[in-house]
Protein backbone atom coordinates (compact mmCIF):
# COMPACT_ATOMS: atom_id res chain seq x y z
CA UNK A 1 0.00 0.00 0.00
CA UNK A 2 1.30 3.44 -0.88
CA UNK A 3 2.35 5.53 2.13
CA UNK A 4 0.08 8.37 1.09
CA UNK A 5 -3.01 6.23 0.73
CA UNK A 6 -5.72 7.48 2.99
CA UNK A 7 -6.90 4.94 5.48
CA UNK A 8 -10.60 4.92 5.76
CA UNK A 9 -12.03 5.64 9.11
CA UNK A 10 -14.87 3.35 10.14
CA UNK A 11 -18.26 4.96 9.89
CA UNK A 12 -18.95 6.31 13.33
CA UNK A 13 -22.31 6.61 14.93
CA UNK A 14 -23.45 10.12 14.23
CA UNK A 15 -22.97 11.11 17.85
CA UNK A 16 -23.05 14.83 17.20
CA UNK A 17 -26.60 14.86 16.01
CA UNK A 18 -28.48 12.67 18.43
CA UNK A 19 -28.83 13.63 22.04
CA UNK A 20 -26.26 12.03 24.33
CA UNK A 21 -27.08 10.86 27.82
CA UNK A 22 -26.30 13.22 30.66
CA UNK A 23 -27.43 16.42 32.15
CA UNK A 24 -25.90 18.85 29.69
CA UNK A 25 -25.63 18.80 25.93
CA UNK A 26 -23.41 20.83 23.67
CA UNK A 27 -25.34 22.04 20.64
CA UNK A 28 -23.48 21.29 17.40
CA UNK A 29 -25.18 24.32 15.84
CA UNK A 30 -24.22 27.13 18.21
CA UNK A 31 -21.75 25.28 20.50
CA UNK A 32 -23.73 26.45 23.51
CA UNK A 33 -24.30 24.12 26.42
CA UNK A 34 -27.96 23.27 26.93
CA UNK A 35 -29.69 21.70 29.88
CA UNK A 36 -31.00 18.33 28.68
CA UNK A 37 -34.44 18.85 30.19
CA UNK A 38 -34.82 22.17 28.38
CA UNK A 39 -34.03 20.39 25.14
CA UNK A 40 -36.59 17.67 25.84
CA UNK A 41 -39.21 20.26 26.67
CA UNK A 42 -38.44 21.96 23.36
CA UNK A 43 -38.94 18.88 21.11
CA UNK A 44 -35.15 18.43 20.93
CA UNK A 45 -34.71 21.76 19.22
CA UNK A 46 -31.92 24.00 20.52
CA UNK A 47 -33.66 26.96 22.25
CA UNK A 48 -30.80 29.24 21.22
CA UNK A 49 -30.09 28.48 17.56
CA UNK A 50 -33.01 26.20 16.57
CA UNK A 51 -30.68 23.33 15.67
CA UNK A 52 -32.87 20.25 15.25
CA UNK A 53 -31.51 17.20 17.07
CA UNK A 54 -32.56 13.86 15.64
CA UNK A 55 -35.67 12.28 17.18
CA UNK A 56 -36.12 8.58 17.77
CA UNK A 57 -39.16 6.97 16.15
CA UNK A 58 -41.00 6.84 19.48
CA UNK A 59 -40.18 10.48 20.31
CA UNK A 60 -41.42 11.46 16.86
CA UNK A 61 -44.75 9.71 17.30
CA UNK A 62 -45.14 11.19 20.81
CA UNK A 63 -44.62 14.65 19.28
CA UNK A 64 -47.35 14.15 16.67
CA UNK A 65 -50.14 12.06 18.19
CA UNK A 66 -52.59 13.74 20.57
CA UNK A 67 -51.68 13.01 24.19
CA UNK A 68 -48.63 11.22 22.77
CA UNK A 69 -50.73 8.07 22.46
CA UNK A 70 -51.15 5.64 19.58
CA UNK A 71 -52.03 2.04 18.82
CA UNK A 72 -49.02 0.30 17.35
CA UNK A 73 -49.36 -2.04 14.34
CA UNK A 74 -47.28 -4.98 13.17
CA UNK A 75 -44.73 -4.48 15.94
CA UNK A 76 -43.59 -8.10 15.74
CA UNK A 77 -42.61 -8.29 12.08
CA UNK A 78 -38.92 -9.02 11.75
CA UNK A 79 -36.47 -9.99 9.04
CA UNK A 80 -35.46 -13.63 8.67
CA UNK A 81 -32.24 -12.67 6.86
CA UNK A 82 -33.45 -13.91 3.45
CA UNK A 83 -30.02 -13.67 1.81
CA UNK A 84 -28.11 -15.17 4.77
CA UNK A 85 -25.96 -12.10 4.31
CA UNK A 86 -22.58 -11.69 5.94
CA UNK A 87 -19.96 -8.98 5.53
CA UNK A 88 -17.40 -8.49 8.27
CA UNK A 89 -20.22 -9.51 10.59
CA UNK A 90 -23.21 -11.78 9.98
CA UNK A 91 -26.36 -9.76 9.29
CA UNK A 92 -28.24 -12.04 11.67
CA UNK A 93 -25.95 -11.00 14.53
CA UNK A 94 -26.12 -7.36 13.52
CA UNK A 95 -29.92 -7.56 13.59
CA UNK A 96 -29.99 -9.28 16.97
CA UNK A 97 -27.60 -6.73 18.51
CA UNK A 98 -29.59 -3.81 17.09
CA UNK A 99 -32.88 -5.27 18.24
CA UNK A 100 -31.48 -5.58 21.72
CA UNK A 101 -30.07 -2.05 21.73
CA UNK A 102 -33.20 -0.34 20.38
CA UNK A 103 -35.96 -2.57 21.72
CA UNK A 104 -37.41 -2.58 18.20
CA UNK A 105 -37.71 -5.44 15.70
CA UNK A 106 -36.87 -3.20 12.76
CA UNK A 107 -36.27 0.43 11.80
CA UNK A 108 -39.85 1.65 11.87
CA UNK A 109 -42.86 2.14 14.12
CA UNK A 110 -46.36 2.39 12.65
CA UNK A 111 -49.23 3.63 14.76
CA UNK A 112 -52.73 4.94 14.43
CA UNK A 113 -54.35 7.54 16.60
CA UNK A 114 -55.34 11.17 16.30
CA UNK A 115 -53.49 14.30 15.26
CA UNK A 116 -55.30 17.38 16.50
CA UNK A 117 -58.48 15.33 16.62
CA UNK A 118 -58.00 13.89 13.13
CA UNK A 119 -57.82 10.10 12.87
CA UNK A 120 -54.56 9.21 11.16
CA UNK A 121 -51.92 6.56 10.50
CA UNK A 122 -48.32 7.67 11.10
CA UNK A 123 -45.14 5.73 10.36
CA UNK A 124 -41.83 6.93 11.80
CA UNK A 125 -38.35 5.60 11.13
CA UNK A 126 -35.68 4.81 13.69
CA UNK A 127 -32.25 5.94 12.59
CA UNK A 128 -30.54 4.03 15.40
CA UNK A 129 -31.66 0.81 13.73
CA UNK A 130 -29.03 0.21 11.00
CA UNK A 131 -29.27 3.80 9.80
CA UNK A 132 -33.04 3.63 9.41
CA UNK A 133 -32.42 1.46 6.37
CA UNK A 134 -35.36 0.01 4.47
CA UNK A 135 -35.55 -3.75 4.11
CA UNK A 136 -38.47 -6.08 3.66
CA UNK A 137 -39.95 -5.37 7.09
CA UNK A 138 -40.07 -1.62 6.61
CA UNK A 139 -41.51 -2.10 3.13
CA UNK A 140 -44.19 -4.43 4.42
CA UNK A 141 -45.10 -2.23 7.39
CA UNK A 142 -45.34 0.87 5.19
CA UNK A 143 -47.48 -0.98 2.66
CA UNK A 144 -49.78 -2.18 5.42
CA UNK A 145 -49.88 1.37 6.79
CA UNK A 146 -51.02 2.66 3.39
CA UNK A 147 -53.56 -0.15 3.08
CA UNK A 148 -54.82 0.61 6.58
CA UNK A 149 -55.24 4.29 5.75
CA UNK A 150 -57.13 3.26 2.62
CA UNK A 151 -59.41 0.87 4.52
CA UNK A 152 -60.12 3.39 7.28
CA UNK A 153 -60.29 6.28 4.82
CA UNK A 154 -57.90 8.38 6.86
CA UNK A 155 -54.68 10.24 6.00
CA UNK A 156 -51.18 8.80 6.15
CA UNK A 157 -47.96 10.47 7.25
CA UNK A 158 -44.59 8.83 6.72
CA UNK A 159 -41.71 10.36 8.65
CA UNK A 160 -38.51 9.45 6.82
CA UNK A 161 -35.16 9.25 8.57
CA UNK A 162 -33.11 6.79 6.61
CA UNK A 163 -29.93 6.20 4.66
CA UNK A 164 -31.90 4.31 2.01
CA UNK A 165 -32.45 0.70 1.02
CA UNK A 166 -30.84 -1.95 3.25
CA UNK A 167 -27.94 -3.61 1.44
CA UNK A 168 -28.10 -6.76 3.53
CA UNK A 169 -31.44 -7.69 2.00
CA UNK A 170 -30.26 -7.01 -1.55
CA UNK A 171 -32.75 -6.62 -4.38
CA UNK A 172 -35.60 -7.46 -1.99
CA UNK A 173 -34.93 -4.09 -0.33
CA UNK A 174 -34.93 -2.41 -3.73
CA UNK A 175 -38.32 -3.91 -4.54
CA UNK A 176 -39.83 -2.32 -1.43
CA UNK A 177 -39.55 1.02 -3.22
CA UNK A 178 -41.90 -0.22 -5.92
CA UNK A 179 -44.16 -2.02 -3.46
CA UNK A 180 -44.75 0.99 -1.19
CA UNK A 181 -45.12 3.33 -4.17
CA UNK A 182 -47.77 1.04 -5.66
CA UNK A 183 -49.69 1.11 -2.38
CA UNK A 184 -49.45 4.91 -2.34
CA UNK A 185 -50.79 5.03 -5.88
CA UNK A 186 -54.00 3.46 -4.53
CA UNK A 187 -54.19 6.03 -1.75
CA UNK A 188 -53.66 8.72 -4.37
CA UNK A 189 -56.49 7.40 -6.49
CA UNK A 190 -58.81 7.32 -3.48
CA UNK A 191 -58.00 11.03 -2.84
CA UNK A 192 -56.75 10.33 0.67
CA UNK A 193 -54.04 12.67 1.92
CA UNK A 194 -50.47 11.43 2.14
CA UNK A 195 -47.88 13.70 3.69
CA UNK A 196 -44.20 12.87 3.48
CA UNK A 197 -42.13 14.39 6.25
CA UNK A 198 -38.43 14.39 5.39
CA UNK A 199 -36.05 14.62 8.33
CA UNK A 200 -32.29 14.41 8.65
CA UNK A 201 -31.21 12.30 6.81
CA UNK A 202 -33.44 11.08 3.97
CA UNK A 203 -31.41 9.60 1.15
CA UNK A 204 -31.16 6.82 -1.42
CA UNK A 205 -34.05 4.51 -2.15
CA UNK A 206 -36.29 6.09 0.47
CA UNK A 207 -36.06 9.48 -1.24
CA UNK A 208 -36.44 7.91 -4.69
CA UNK A 209 -39.77 6.40 -3.74
CA UNK A 210 -42.39 7.29 -1.14
CA UNK A 211 -40.53 10.22 0.48
CA UNK A 212 -40.95 12.27 -2.72
CA UNK A 213 -44.54 11.18 -3.39
CA UNK A 214 -46.39 13.18 -0.76
CA UNK A 215 -49.34 15.33 -1.67
CA UNK A 216 -47.14 17.54 0.43
CA UNK A 217 -43.42 16.97 0.95
CA UNK A 218 -42.49 18.74 4.16
CA UNK A 219 -38.93 18.93 5.44
CA UNK A 220 -37.39 19.85 8.76
CA UNK A 221 -34.79 22.65 8.60
CA UNK A 222 -31.31 21.78 7.33
CA UNK A 223 -32.05 18.08 6.87
CA UNK A 224 -29.83 16.20 4.44
CA UNK A 225 -32.12 15.09 1.62
CA UNK A 226 -30.93 13.53 -1.60
CA UNK A 227 -30.65 10.52 -3.83
CA UNK A 228 -26.94 9.83 -4.20
CA UNK A 229 -24.75 10.30 -1.15
CA UNK A 230 -22.57 13.45 -1.15
CA UNK A 231 -19.40 11.32 -1.24
CA UNK A 232 -20.55 9.43 -4.32
CA UNK A 233 -21.32 12.70 -6.11
CA UNK A 234 -17.93 14.15 -5.15
CA UNK A 235 -16.28 11.09 -6.66
CA UNK A 236 -18.29 11.52 -9.86
CA UNK A 237 -17.62 15.22 -10.38
CA UNK A 238 -14.19 15.25 -8.67
CA UNK A 239 -14.80 18.47 -6.79
CA UNK A 240 -16.16 19.61 -3.46
CA UNK A 241 -19.89 20.13 -3.23
CA UNK A 242 -21.16 23.62 -2.49
CA UNK A 243 -22.25 24.45 1.07
CA UNK A 244 -25.84 23.61 1.80
CA UNK A 245 -26.10 21.22 -1.18
CA UNK A 246 -28.82 18.59 -0.57
CA UNK A 247 -30.12 20.41 2.49
CA UNK A 248 -33.84 21.14 2.95
CA UNK A 249 -33.47 24.78 1.96
CA UNK A 250 -31.61 23.79 -1.22
CA UNK A 251 -34.43 21.44 -2.20
CA UNK A 252 -36.99 24.10 -1.39
CA UNK A 253 -35.20 26.52 -3.75
CA UNK A 254 -35.08 23.87 -6.47
CA UNK A 255 -38.81 23.22 -6.11
CA UNK A 256 -38.65 19.69 -4.74
CA UNK A 257 -40.07 20.42 -1.28
CA UNK A 258 -43.34 22.21 -0.56
CA UNK A 259 -42.29 23.73 2.73
CA UNK A 260 -39.65 23.67 5.41
CA UNK A 261 -41.16 23.72 8.88
CA UNK A 262 -39.61 24.19 12.32
CA UNK A 263 -40.42 21.17 14.46
CA UNK A 264 -42.14 23.36 17.03
CA UNK A 265 -44.69 24.46 14.41
CA UNK A 266 -44.88 21.09 12.73
CA UNK A 267 -47.96 19.61 14.35
CA UNK A 268 -50.10 22.66 13.73
CA UNK A 269 -48.89 22.92 10.11
CA UNK A 270 -49.71 19.26 9.57
CA UNK A 271 -53.16 19.66 11.05
CA UNK A 272 -53.91 22.68 8.83
CA UNK A 273 -52.67 20.84 5.76
CA UNK A 274 -54.69 17.74 6.54
CA UNK A 275 -57.85 19.80 7.01
CA UNK A 276 -57.24 21.50 3.67
CA UNK A 277 -56.99 18.04 2.13
CA UNK A 278 -60.31 17.02 3.58
CA UNK A 279 -59.36 15.15 6.73
CA UNK A 280 -62.20 15.28 9.23
CA UNK A 281 -62.42 14.58 12.96
CA UNK A 282 -63.77 11.22 14.03
CA UNK A 283 -67.56 11.24 14.44
CA UNK A 284 -68.60 12.42 17.92
CA UNK A 285 -68.58 9.58 20.44
CA UNK A 286 -71.98 7.87 20.50
CA UNK A 287 -74.29 7.97 23.53
CA UNK A 288 -73.38 6.03 26.65
CA UNK A 289 -75.37 2.89 25.78
CA UNK A 290 -73.79 2.62 22.32
CA UNK A 291 -70.36 3.50 23.67
CA UNK A 292 -70.43 0.46 25.90
CA UNK A 293 -70.37 -1.74 22.83
CA UNK A 294 -67.35 0.00 21.33
CA UNK A 295 -64.01 -1.72 21.75
CA UNK A 296 -61.55 0.13 23.91
CA UNK A 297 -59.42 2.57 21.86
Amino acid sequence: MAWFKKTRKPIKGDAARSVPEGLWVKCPGCKQVIYNKDLAANLQVCPKCAHHFRLSAAERLRSLFDEGAWVEHDADLRSNDPLTFADTKAYKDRLAATQKATGLKDAIIVGSGQLDGLPIVIAAMEYAFIGGSMGVVMGEKLTRAAERALAERCPLIIVSCSGGARMMEGALSLMQMAKVSAALSRLDKACLPFISLLTDPTTGGVTASFAMLGDLNIAEPKALIGFAGPRVIEQTIRQKLPDGFQRSEFLLERGMIDLVVDRRQLKSTLAQSLRFMGAAPAPAPPEASAAAEQPAP
Binding site: R8, P10, I11, L77, R78, S79, N80, D81, P82, L83, F85, A86, D87, T88, G135, V136, V137, G139, E140, A165, R166, M167, E169, G170, A171, L172, S173, L174, M175, Q176, M177, A178, K179, S181, A182, L184, S185, D188, K189, G204, G205, T207, A208, S209, F210, M212, L213, G226, F227, A228, V232, I233, T236, I237, L241, F245, Q246, R254, G255, M256
Partner: protein, 318 residues
Protein backbone atom coordinates in the same frame (compact mmCIF):
# COMPACT_ATOMS: atom_id res chain seq x y z
CA UNK B 1 -10.80 -7.78 -29.20
CA UNK B 2 -8.15 -8.28 -26.52
CA UNK B 3 -9.42 -5.33 -24.51
CA UNK B 4 -12.86 -6.89 -24.39
CA UNK B 5 -11.62 -10.26 -23.17
CA UNK B 6 -12.79 -10.94 -19.67
CA UNK B 7 -10.22 -12.12 -17.15
CA UNK B 8 -11.72 -15.57 -16.71
CA UNK B 9 -11.85 -16.06 -20.49
CA UNK B 10 -8.03 -16.04 -20.66
CA UNK B 11 -7.78 -19.84 -21.23
CA UNK B 12 -10.07 -19.44 -24.25
CA UNK B 13 -7.92 -16.63 -25.63
CA UNK B 14 -4.82 -18.80 -25.33
CA UNK B 15 -6.43 -21.54 -27.39
CA UNK B 16 -7.67 -18.99 -29.91
CA UNK B 17 -4.12 -17.66 -30.30
CA UNK B 18 -2.84 -21.17 -30.79
CA UNK B 19 -5.49 -21.80 -33.40
CA UNK B 20 -4.64 -18.55 -35.20
CA UNK B 21 -0.97 -19.51 -35.21
CA UNK B 22 -1.74 -22.89 -36.81
CA UNK B 23 -4.12 -21.27 -39.29
CA UNK B 24 -1.43 -18.82 -40.41
CA UNK B 25 0.78 -21.70 -41.59
CA UNK B 26 0.25 -23.31 -45.00
CA UNK B 27 -2.72 -25.60 -44.81
CA UNK B 28 -2.13 -29.37 -44.58
CA UNK B 29 -4.63 -32.09 -43.73
CA UNK B 30 -2.94 -32.54 -40.36
CA UNK B 31 -3.13 -28.84 -39.57
CA UNK B 32 -6.78 -28.72 -40.57
CA UNK B 33 -7.48 -31.56 -38.17
CA UNK B 34 -5.61 -29.75 -35.45
CA UNK B 35 -7.61 -26.57 -36.10
CA UNK B 36 -10.85 -28.51 -35.91
CA UNK B 37 -9.87 -30.10 -32.63
CA UNK B 38 -8.77 -26.76 -31.20
CA UNK B 39 -12.09 -25.29 -32.26
CA UNK B 40 -13.94 -28.07 -30.50
CA UNK B 41 -11.85 -27.59 -27.36
CA UNK B 42 -12.63 -23.88 -27.38
CA UNK B 43 -16.34 -24.58 -27.58
CA UNK B 44 -16.11 -27.10 -24.78
CA UNK B 45 -14.02 -24.83 -22.59
CA UNK B 46 -16.33 -21.87 -23.16
CA UNK B 47 -19.39 -23.94 -22.31
CA UNK B 48 -17.69 -25.19 -19.18
CA UNK B 49 -16.56 -21.73 -18.05
CA UNK B 50 -19.97 -20.21 -18.64
CA UNK B 51 -21.72 -23.00 -16.82
CA UNK B 52 -19.77 -22.20 -13.67
CA UNK B 53 -19.67 -18.42 -13.61
CA UNK B 54 -19.32 -16.86 -10.17
CA UNK B 55 -21.55 -13.92 -9.32
CA UNK B 56 -18.67 -11.48 -9.82
CA UNK B 57 -17.88 -13.01 -13.21
CA UNK B 58 -21.52 -12.53 -14.14
CA UNK B 59 -21.19 -8.88 -13.19
CA UNK B 60 -18.36 -8.54 -15.71
CA UNK B 61 -20.37 -10.35 -18.40
CA UNK B 62 -23.37 -8.12 -17.71
CA UNK B 63 -21.12 -5.05 -18.09
CA UNK B 64 -19.35 -6.32 -21.22
CA UNK B 65 -18.93 -3.44 -23.69
CA UNK B 66 -20.24 -5.58 -26.54
CA UNK B 67 -23.33 -6.68 -24.68
CA UNK B 68 -26.36 -6.05 -26.90
CA UNK B 69 -28.06 -2.72 -26.26
CA UNK B 70 -31.76 -2.01 -26.47
CA UNK B 71 -31.24 -0.85 -30.06
CA UNK B 72 -29.47 -4.11 -30.96
CA UNK B 73 -32.62 -5.94 -29.90
CA UNK B 74 -34.81 -3.41 -31.70
CA UNK B 75 -32.88 -4.03 -34.94
CA UNK B 76 -33.43 -7.76 -34.75
CA UNK B 77 -36.86 -8.26 -33.21
CA UNK B 78 -38.84 -5.18 -34.22
CA UNK B 79 -39.92 -3.43 -37.40
CA UNK B 80 -40.86 0.17 -38.21
CA UNK B 81 -39.05 1.61 -35.21
CA UNK B 82 -39.66 5.32 -34.71
CA UNK B 83 -37.56 6.87 -31.98
CA UNK B 84 -39.10 9.73 -30.02
CA UNK B 85 -37.18 12.21 -27.90
CA UNK B 86 -37.27 14.48 -24.91
CA UNK B 87 -39.23 14.92 -21.70
CA UNK B 88 -40.98 18.15 -22.81
CA UNK B 89 -39.65 19.82 -19.70
CA UNK B 90 -35.93 20.13 -19.93
CA UNK B 91 -33.98 17.99 -22.38
CA UNK B 92 -33.57 14.80 -24.34
CA UNK B 93 -31.60 12.28 -22.30
CA UNK B 94 -29.58 10.05 -24.62
CA UNK B 95 -29.04 7.47 -21.89
CA UNK B 96 -32.73 6.61 -22.22
CA UNK B 97 -34.18 5.45 -25.55
CA UNK B 98 -37.90 5.67 -26.24
CA UNK B 99 -39.86 4.90 -29.37
CA UNK B 100 -42.56 2.82 -30.95
CA UNK B 101 -42.28 -0.15 -33.28
CA UNK B 102 -44.04 -3.32 -34.30
CA UNK B 103 -43.37 -6.58 -32.55
CA UNK B 104 -44.69 -9.52 -34.57
CA UNK B 105 -46.98 -7.01 -36.21
CA UNK B 106 -48.33 -5.52 -32.98
CA UNK B 107 -47.59 -1.86 -32.19
CA UNK B 108 -45.64 -1.57 -28.94
CA UNK B 109 -43.75 1.11 -27.06
CA UNK B 110 -40.09 0.51 -26.25
CA UNK B 111 -38.21 2.22 -23.46
CA UNK B 112 -34.71 1.32 -22.41
CA UNK B 113 -31.43 2.54 -21.01
CA UNK B 114 -28.56 2.68 -23.47
CA UNK B 115 -24.95 2.53 -22.28
CA UNK B 116 -23.43 3.27 -25.67
CA UNK B 117 -22.08 -0.18 -26.53
CA UNK B 118 -18.42 -0.65 -27.44
CA UNK B 119 -17.72 2.72 -29.05
CA UNK B 120 -16.19 5.44 -26.89
CA UNK B 121 -17.93 8.32 -28.66
CA UNK B 122 -21.28 6.56 -28.31
CA UNK B 123 -20.58 5.85 -24.66
CA UNK B 124 -20.00 9.52 -23.97
CA UNK B 125 -23.06 10.48 -26.02
CA UNK B 126 -25.13 8.03 -23.96
CA UNK B 127 -23.49 9.09 -20.68
CA UNK B 128 -22.56 5.41 -20.15
CA UNK B 129 -26.20 4.62 -19.51
CA UNK B 130 -26.47 6.87 -16.46
CA UNK B 131 -29.85 8.51 -16.99
CA UNK B 132 -30.73 11.86 -15.42
CA UNK B 133 -34.14 13.05 -14.21
CA UNK B 134 -35.09 14.06 -17.76
CA UNK B 135 -34.45 10.46 -18.83
CA UNK B 136 -36.95 9.04 -16.37
CA UNK B 137 -39.46 11.76 -17.24
CA UNK B 138 -38.94 11.08 -20.94
CA UNK B 139 -39.63 7.39 -20.31
CA UNK B 140 -42.78 8.17 -18.33
CA UNK B 141 -44.06 10.56 -20.94
CA UNK B 142 -43.59 7.91 -23.62
CA UNK B 143 -45.33 5.33 -21.43
CA UNK B 144 -48.25 7.69 -20.93
CA UNK B 145 -48.49 7.95 -24.70
CA UNK B 146 -48.70 4.15 -24.90
CA UNK B 147 -51.30 4.17 -22.15
CA UNK B 148 -53.40 6.72 -24.00
CA UNK B 149 -53.46 4.68 -27.19
CA UNK B 150 -53.67 1.28 -25.54
CA UNK B 151 -50.26 -0.04 -26.60
CA UNK B 152 -48.15 -2.49 -24.64
CA UNK B 153 -44.84 -1.34 -23.15
CA UNK B 154 -41.55 -3.22 -23.29
CA UNK B 155 -38.89 -1.90 -20.93
CA UNK B 156 -35.23 -2.84 -21.52
CA UNK B 157 -33.17 -2.39 -18.36
CA UNK B 158 -29.40 -1.90 -18.57
CA UNK B 159 -27.84 0.83 -16.45
CA UNK B 160 -25.08 1.10 -13.86
CA UNK B 161 -27.26 3.53 -11.87
CA UNK B 162 -29.14 6.79 -12.16
CA UNK B 163 -26.62 9.59 -12.71
CA UNK B 164 -25.10 10.69 -9.39
CA UNK B 165 -24.28 14.35 -9.99
CA UNK B 166 -25.22 17.87 -8.98
CA UNK B 167 -27.63 18.43 -11.88
CA UNK B 168 -29.40 15.14 -11.13
CA UNK B 169 -30.08 16.23 -7.57
CA UNK B 170 -31.02 19.77 -8.58
CA UNK B 171 -33.57 18.58 -11.08
CA UNK B 172 -35.02 15.97 -8.75
CA UNK B 173 -33.71 12.55 -9.73
CA UNK B 174 -35.36 11.04 -6.66
CA UNK B 175 -38.71 12.57 -7.53
CA UNK B 176 -38.45 11.46 -11.16
CA UNK B 177 -37.81 7.84 -10.20
CA UNK B 178 -40.44 7.90 -7.46
CA UNK B 179 -43.14 9.18 -9.81
CA UNK B 180 -42.31 6.41 -12.30
CA UNK B 181 -42.65 3.77 -9.59
CA UNK B 182 -46.05 5.09 -8.61
CA UNK B 183 -47.37 5.74 -12.09
CA UNK B 184 -46.07 2.55 -13.71
CA UNK B 185 -47.98 0.64 -11.05
CA UNK B 186 -51.14 2.31 -12.38
CA UNK B 187 -50.62 1.80 -16.13
CA UNK B 188 -53.50 -0.22 -17.51
CA UNK B 189 -51.65 -1.50 -20.60
CA UNK B 190 -49.37 -4.57 -20.49
CA UNK B 191 -45.84 -3.81 -19.27
CA UNK B 192 -43.06 -6.35 -19.77
CA UNK B 193 -39.64 -5.71 -18.24
CA UNK B 194 -36.44 -7.24 -19.61
CA UNK B 195 -33.41 -6.91 -17.35
CA UNK B 196 -30.88 -7.79 -20.04
CA UNK B 197 -27.67 -6.22 -18.74
CA UNK B 198 -26.98 -4.37 -15.53
CA UNK B 199 -29.91 -3.68 -13.24
CA UNK B 200 -28.39 -0.85 -11.22
CA UNK B 201 -30.62 -0.15 -8.21
CA UNK B 202 -33.12 2.74 -8.34
CA UNK B 203 -31.90 3.74 -11.78
CA UNK B 204 -33.01 0.36 -13.08
CA UNK B 205 -36.21 0.11 -11.07
CA UNK B 206 -37.30 3.52 -12.39
CA UNK B 207 -38.46 1.78 -15.59
CA UNK B 208 -38.88 -1.73 -14.22
CA UNK B 209 -42.35 -1.99 -12.71
CA UNK B 210 -44.28 -4.43 -14.86
CA UNK B 211 -46.52 -7.46 -15.19
CA UNK B 212 -43.71 -9.86 -15.90
CA UNK B 213 -39.99 -9.39 -15.22
CA UNK B 214 -37.66 -11.32 -17.52
CA UNK B 215 -33.98 -11.48 -16.68
CA UNK B 216 -31.12 -12.65 -18.85
CA UNK B 217 -29.01 -15.54 -17.70
CA UNK B 218 -25.93 -13.38 -17.16
CA UNK B 219 -27.63 -10.14 -16.23
CA UNK B 220 -27.39 -8.77 -12.69
CA UNK B 221 -29.89 -6.78 -10.66
CA UNK B 222 -28.85 -5.24 -7.39
CA UNK B 223 -29.65 -2.69 -4.74
CA UNK B 224 -26.07 -1.37 -4.95
CA UNK B 225 -23.06 -2.18 -7.16
CA UNK B 226 -20.77 -4.75 -5.50
CA UNK B 227 -17.94 -2.20 -5.40
CA UNK B 228 -20.08 0.28 -3.50
CA UNK B 229 -21.35 -2.38 -1.12
CA UNK B 230 -17.80 -3.58 -0.45
CA UNK B 231 -16.60 -0.01 0.16
CA UNK B 232 -19.29 0.55 2.77
CA UNK B 233 -19.55 -2.81 4.53
CA UNK B 234 -16.02 -4.16 4.08
CA UNK B 235 -14.46 -0.69 3.93
CA UNK B 236 -12.58 -1.74 0.80
CA UNK B 237 -13.88 -1.84 -2.76
CA UNK B 238 -11.34 -4.66 -3.33
CA UNK B 239 -13.81 -6.98 -1.63
CA UNK B 240 -16.26 -6.64 -4.52
CA UNK B 241 -16.07 -10.38 -5.27
CA UNK B 242 -17.38 -11.25 -1.82
CA UNK B 243 -19.95 -8.47 -2.03
CA UNK B 244 -21.20 -9.78 -5.39
CA UNK B 245 -21.62 -13.16 -3.74
CA UNK B 246 -23.42 -11.81 -0.71
CA UNK B 247 -25.83 -9.54 -2.61
CA UNK B 248 -27.54 -12.43 -4.46
CA UNK B 249 -27.70 -10.40 -7.65
CA UNK B 250 -27.73 -13.17 -10.28
CA UNK B 251 -30.76 -14.31 -12.24
CA UNK B 252 -31.04 -17.74 -10.56
CA UNK B 253 -30.85 -16.13 -7.10
CA UNK B 254 -33.46 -13.51 -7.94
CA UNK B 255 -35.77 -16.09 -9.46
CA UNK B 256 -35.63 -17.98 -6.18
CA UNK B 257 -36.33 -14.81 -4.19
CA UNK B 258 -39.33 -13.97 -6.36
CA UNK B 259 -37.86 -10.73 -7.71
CA UNK B 260 -37.92 -11.92 -11.34
CA UNK B 261 -40.30 -14.31 -13.09
CA UNK B 262 -38.24 -15.99 -15.74
CA UNK B 263 -34.66 -16.43 -16.93
CA UNK B 264 -33.87 -15.70 -20.59
CA UNK B 265 -31.13 -18.01 -21.89
CA UNK B 266 -28.09 -16.56 -23.64
CA UNK B 267 -25.82 -18.04 -26.29
CA UNK B 268 -22.94 -20.02 -24.81
CA UNK B 269 -20.25 -17.50 -24.02
CA UNK B 270 -22.71 -14.71 -23.24
CA UNK B 271 -25.02 -12.44 -25.25
CA UNK B 272 -22.06 -10.31 -26.35
CA UNK B 273 -20.55 -12.96 -28.60
CA UNK B 274 -23.61 -13.30 -30.83
CA UNK B 275 -26.25 -10.57 -30.87
CA UNK B 276 -28.44 -12.34 -33.40
CA UNK B 277 -28.52 -15.52 -31.34
CA UNK B 278 -29.19 -13.51 -28.19
CA UNK B 279 -32.12 -11.77 -29.85
CA UNK B 280 -33.52 -15.06 -31.12
CA UNK B 281 -33.36 -16.52 -27.61
CA UNK B 282 -35.24 -13.53 -26.19
CA UNK B 283 -38.01 -13.64 -28.78
CA UNK B 284 -39.84 -16.70 -27.43
CA UNK B 285 -40.01 -15.69 -23.74
CA UNK B 286 -40.83 -12.08 -24.63
CA UNK B 287 -43.64 -13.02 -26.96
CA UNK B 288 -45.10 -15.44 -24.42
CA UNK B 289 -44.93 -12.88 -21.60
CA UNK B 290 -46.58 -10.23 -23.74
CA UNK B 291 -49.42 -12.43 -24.88
CA UNK B 292 -50.02 -13.67 -21.32
CA UNK B 293 -50.34 -10.13 -20.03
CA UNK B 294 -52.40 -9.00 -23.02
CA UNK B 295 -54.89 -11.79 -22.37
CA UNK B 296 -56.08 -10.08 -19.16
CA UNK B 297 -58.50 -7.19 -19.04
CA UNK B 298 -57.13 -3.94 -17.65
CA UNK B 299 -58.57 -4.33 -14.14
CA UNK B 300 -57.21 -7.84 -13.74
CA UNK B 301 -53.84 -6.75 -15.04
CA UNK B 302 -53.67 -3.89 -12.54
CA UNK B 303 -54.69 -6.15 -9.70
CA UNK B 304 -52.16 -8.83 -10.67
CA UNK B 305 -49.35 -6.28 -11.00
CA UNK B 306 -50.20 -4.88 -7.60
CA UNK B 307 -50.17 -8.34 -6.05
CA UNK B 308 -46.95 -9.20 -7.80
CA UNK B 309 -45.09 -6.34 -6.13
CA UNK B 310 -47.14 -6.66 -2.96
CA UNK B 311 -45.61 -10.07 -2.29
CA UNK B 312 -42.02 -8.93 -2.90
CA UNK B 313 -40.05 -9.48 0.26
CA UNK B 314 -42.61 -11.71 2.00
CA UNK B 315 -39.99 -14.43 1.76
CA UNK B 316 -37.81 -12.38 4.12
CA UNK B 317 -40.30 -11.76 6.90
CA UNK B 318 -40.42 -13.94 9.98
Amino acid sequence: MAADTLEFEEPITLLQKEMAAVASLPSTPERLRSIASLEARIQELRADIYKHLTPWQRVSVARHPNRPTVLDYVDRLFTEFVEIHGDRRFADDHAMVTGFARYHGEPVLIVGHHKGGGDTKQKIFRNFGYAKPEGYRKAMRAMELAQKFGRAILAFVDTPAAFPGIESEERGIAEAIAVNLRDMAALTVPVIVIVHGEGGSGGALGIAVGDRILMHENAVYSVIPPEGCAAILWRSSERKVEAADALKLTAPDLLKLGVVDEIVPEPIGGAHIDHAAAAALLDGPLRAALSASSAHDADTRLELRYRKFRQMGSVGIA
